[in-house]
């Protein structure tokens, strides 16, 4: 036992020493290359969504040095740039480091380029007034392709430019595909990410229901007719089942029954709901509360 204890103590000390001092290194330290000077140019000067204007006047097959040095941002480790989703609408084809993005914790940039870029996306969406158009690229990947067409039309004679544009295209595609990304939102705290996704899903449902929910304004005490409905959806957004949750007014009140049937019809009419498949567990089973009071100004 004494020997065992002694051995244990020695090992403990050794481990502690290693922890404090570190393992001995047998390799020479790698050479540190001189830093490449990078010029950060303000993008706004050159930025035009249909980039062909720039390329056409210079039909040179030879690759030119830096027509757009800002593209180098791709290589440098920048903080997460602008949300790519905005690219089609806001006509900012190149993502750039924007001050707002500083909010998000800069993730290790290396390969998962699209992911850190997609991260600030949900936050950005909430700040800008029209979240809807920004959501579309999430569901229809074809959209980001449109602004690329004018770029492709510009003869990619400039090899570097073509590379840049290809990378751009790739990145945009990746970003569009990763838009409903769970991997990125998983990088945030789980409760934070799911709360954001929840809010977005709620908004989608609310705006869709506004086009389907037909109301009966002349009913007796119409603004008291609040209907609560439980809805189960299939993964493709179609309705699996709808159940009116009785709130106490009961089946005997004909106005309530009418309001409940109108709510059910609204849900059936609105299907299929276009919701992010990756978040199916959120919207698979939900409760919709139809409250007409706001509409009746009460």
């Amino acid at each position: 036992m004494g020997r065992g204890a002694l051995l244990s103590a020695l090992l403990h000390v050794a481990v502690t020493l290693i922890l404090v001092i570190g393992l001995p290194s047998f390799v020479s330290p790698p050479e540190i290359a001189a830093p490449i000077p990078v010029e950060l140019v303000d993008l706004n000067q050159d930025q035009k969504p249909p980039e062909p204007k720039k390329a056409e006047p210079a039909p040179k097959p030879a690759p030119e040095p830096e027509p757009e040095p800002e593209e180098r941002v791709v290589d440098a480790p920048p903080p997460p740039p602008a949300p790519p989703v905005e690219a089609p609408e806001v006509s900012e084809p190149e993502p750039e480091p924007e001050p707002e993005i500083a909010e998000t914790p800069p993730e290790p940039e290396p390969e998962p380029l699209p992911e850190p870029e997609a991260e600030p996306e949900p936050e950005q969406v909430e700040e800008t007034p029209p979240p809807k158009p920004q959501r579309k690229p999430m569901l229809r990947i074809a959209m980001p392709d449109k602004p690329e067409e004018p770029e492709e039309a510009a003869a990619p004679d400039d090899a570097l430019q073509s590379i840049q544009k290809n990378v751009d295209k790739m990145r945009r595609k990746q970003m569009a595909q990763a838009a409903p990304s769970d991997e990125t939102t998983a990088a945030l705290a789980p409760s934070q990410a799911s709360a954001l996704a929840q809010n977005e899903i709620i908004r989608i449902i609310q705006s869709k229901m506004a086009t389907c929910w037909r109301l009966e304004p002349g009913a007796r005490n119409a603004d008291d007719l609040i209907v609560v409905v439980r809805v189960w959806l299939n993964p493709n957004g179609s309705v699996r089942d709808v159940k009116i949750i009785d709130e106490g007014l009961g089946q005997t009140n004909r106005y309530y029954q009418t309001a409940a049937e109108n709510a059910r019809r609204a849900i059936l009419r609105c299907q299929p709901f276009e919701l992010p498949t990756k978040r199916y567990e959120i919207w698979r089973d939900m409760v919709l509360r139809f409250d007409p009071r706001q509409m009746f100004g009460g």
Binding site: Q206, R214, P217
Partner: protein, 445 residues
Amino acid sequence: MKVKATSILLAGVLAAALCLGSGRSADAQLRVDVVDGFISPMPIAITDFYSESAQDAKTGKDMAGVISNDLERSGLFRPIDRRAFIQDAASLRNGPRFSDWRLINAQALVQGSTQMQADGRLRVELRLWDVLAEQQMAGLAYFTTPVNWRRVSHIIADVIYKRLTGEEGYFDTRIVYVAESGPQNRRLKRLGIMDQDGENHRFLTDGGSLVLTPRFSPTTQEITYLSYYGDTPRVYLFNLNTGQQEMLGDFPGMTFAPRFSPDGNQVIMSLAENGNTDIYTMDLRTRRVTRLTNHPAIDTSPSYSPDGRQITFNSDRGGSQQIYIMNADGSNVRRISFNEGRYATPVWSPRGDLIAFTRMSGGEFYIGVMEPEGSGERMLTRGFLVEGPTWAPNGRVLSYFKQTPADSKGRLTSKVYTIDLTGYNERELVTPIDASDPAWSPLIP
């Protein structure tokens, strides 16, 4: 010792897992508040009522037409043009192909059939379908004489209306009114009656004496109205089924015909005595008259609440014509109208939640509604001269009349209109000649 530590550790891990797990399931039930919708008539598909025989098929087509008109005129439904129908009547007999109806955006589908029975009666079957939920909402069969097809159509329209809106129906009703003709200073007035859609019109009196303010009994097919015998206004009771007239009495100074109480046993009226106009009730069985108000001001135009416990009336005891309510025994008189102008002819809705009235303000006339406590006042329509609101028995639709100013030759026009209590869907009720003073019947028993 070791066992305890391990089990504690395991318990800790389990607890953590449970916390995480329960946290996730609490997030799983999403709650969404839907507060935005829209208001619009319900698109409904009404198919011709099917029949084997050509004769009955024509009836079936007519019935569908009447139903469609009723529902469309209510303002709450939009019948879909039948040329857009995809599924044909023959295949419909085997059941609706709901996708066909969803394609044309129908939310409800009306299907029916008629069949002549051996005993000469007509059997009419109705099926009402919920297109989106793919369920039957109503299924009924009626037996009637073939000549009564129009009334059955109204009854069926009422069933559909009630099932889809929750309101009581009002299509199986009639409107009695004063038919007018002639120049302003020599108006000829007769009593006329028609179905609420304007069909089946006939005159009840010949115009020999002036007739005013017809009113329907809520329980019997009887009307009261005022008729001037010389200079004396008399109240008559007219039985629509038998055509018999009975005089209730001479009532000097009476300006409006009496209204009935909801149970049909009393009439309530305003009588002028010694220069003072007050409100009285008369028991129709005993003919005993009871005085309800005793005030030097003019109290007139009374109307019962549907539960018979309160009365609304018009009084100028406050200095100008305003609306008051009181208990059925005359106690607890309180004023409910306070806005600018003068108020007249209050009528309590059969639904109980509103009082309709005529209002004069700024040189114009209005028809408005307000809640029995006086709040929620809304004007529904306005005009040079618009007055005399009457409620449909479901308390959802109002009728009234509008008169244009007389031209240089003294000619004027007077027309009866209907409107929804939300103020939408004002429609003219087409009559053979000019019309005023409409009164809506209860649902025909």
